[in-house]
């Protein structure tokens, strides 16, 4: 579970007006280039999906209710969820992904070797890659919680820029408590309102106040990761070292024993040969 001194970002969907300021602030702070305009028909969303240059994206879902003839916007902030039990940190072979002392999943891009294991295990499909076609060389990018700002006592860029206080930076416990209070407050307007992220994956470091069920937003109700995740780190690596060691010891033992054993045999075999080649 999340530790008490962990930091978290509270996202209140009901307060979001979809201005995308956070999306721009994120790009601005991380010095990421603009991407080609993509028309996603029927929504204000752009681009269509997250990428290595857009680690954070405002997703727009337009919901039309025929019974009341009204339109509802579901807008949510999509980026790395910063799990406490982060499978990506578990599989990362180079330590590029790590659990920061503030609890979120940090990213040291210089160490990333582009193996893509993190994308194979992420239940939220967060890591995105820049790929080199020839060698398959890849570079990963995802939300890094503005680790450089947070460690220096600043707010994450998206929180700093949010004009409606839909984003709040707080301690993890504080954020969860506030989230539950908010849900109680908006229950009349949004009967399906719920808190997302307080229990998922050991507690994520983005705490969401959702106005609809998580599935409506495309979020997994029960995010989970494949059982094979820990296999390489927990079973295969130690087993490999053990087997390699055992093989080396076995072969060395064999060499020592057999050297003496077969050495004697050779000399015995040689003697009759020296006597003459009658056998052949």
């Amino acid at each position: 579970m999340a530790k008490t001194n962990d930091k978290a970002i509270l996202v209140d969907i009901s307060l979001c007006i979809g201005c995308k300021a956070c999306q721009i602030a994120c790009k601005e702070w991380h010095d990421l280039p603009a991407t080609e305009f993509e028309k996603v028909s029927g929504t204000y969303q752009n681009p269509a999906d997250r990428s290595e240059n857009t680690p954070m994206l405002m997703r727009f879902l337009e919901k039309y209710d025929e019974t009341t003839d009204t339109m509802d916007w579901l807008i949510w902030k999509d980026q790395c969820m910063h799990c406490t039990d982060a499978p990506c940190v578990e599989v990362c072979p180079s330590g590029a992904l790590f659990t920061h002392e503030d609890g979120f999943v940090g990213l040291e891009n210089d160490k990333c070797i582009g193996c893509t294991y993190c994308s194979k295990v992420c239940p939220f499909d967060s890591p995105r890659f820049e790929t080199d076609a020839l060698t398959g060389n890849k570079r990963m990018n995802k939300c890094d919680f503005c680790q450089d700002r947070v460690t220096n006592g600043e707010l994450p860029a998206c929180v700093q820029t949010c004009p409606t206080n839909a984003l709040e930076f707080d301690t993890w416990d504080g954020a969860v408590e506030k989230a539950h209070e908010r849900v109680e407050q908006i229950k009349d307007r949004y009967p399906e309102a719920n808190v997302y992220g307080d229990k998922e994956m050991g507690g994520t470091h983005y705490i969401y106040v959702l106005t609809e069920k998580p599935e409506t937003f495309g979020l997994p109700a029960q995010p989970e990761t494949n059982d094979l995740v820990g296999f390489r780190q927990d079973v295969l690596k130690p087993a490999t070292q053990l087997f390699m060691g055992a093989t080396a010891v076995g072969l060395l033992t064999n060499f020592i024993i057999s050297s003496s054993a077969f050495g004697n045999e050779e000399t015995q075999e040689d003697q009759p040969k020296d006597g003459g080649e009658k056998d052949e």
Partner: protein
Amino acid sequence: MSKKRKSLVKRYNRVDMIMHWTVAVGFILAMLTGYAVFFEGTSSLLVNEVGFVIRLVHRIGGVIFVLAPILYFIFSKKRFGFLRAFKWDKSDFGWLKAAPKHYFVGGGDMPPQQKYNTGQKLFYLFAVVFGVLLVVSGFFLWFSWFSPTVGLIMLFIHDVSAVLLTLFFFVHVYLVAFHPDERTSFNAMTTGYMDRGFAKHHHELWYNEVKDEEEKKKQENKEVI
């Protein structure tokens, strides 16, 4: 020269040897670069230009490892030779029983062997089965056209077959290059010829076949003369 030739038996064609060594080179290149990702200490090598080279070499090794047997299959007459690795009989189990003693101190009741003894068959079997698994899973990992879960399963297959092949590879290399009794067989794969005494002792059934053929030829020659 002629005297030396007499005590040798032809074992491999040039094509066989080229294919064996090409596969070996491909495997070694891919193995060395592959383990760079596997172990934590060396994985830091994979960033920047060094990483670029390592990745490229891993793929070049993989392609060599795949292409050599495919070309061999297309152009060599012995294309189905690998099937003999799947033919097992009682003598093979006898071999397995006697092998530990034999390889440590010599002796033991080793049943007479075919051209490839049980150990070699076993290695061939491993190379074919896990080589195919390695190549197929490697293809899936190289091109990320597939779902993450598929990728994870392929990674699992790639890892396990790589480790098993590596262990077998070490045993294989040790036996032909270092083991005091077996190391003469190294010459067979480098020159194509095997010591007659060794052939008789280690591959008796095959040696008898060769001998019969030689005698047939001799008789034919005599008849011609």
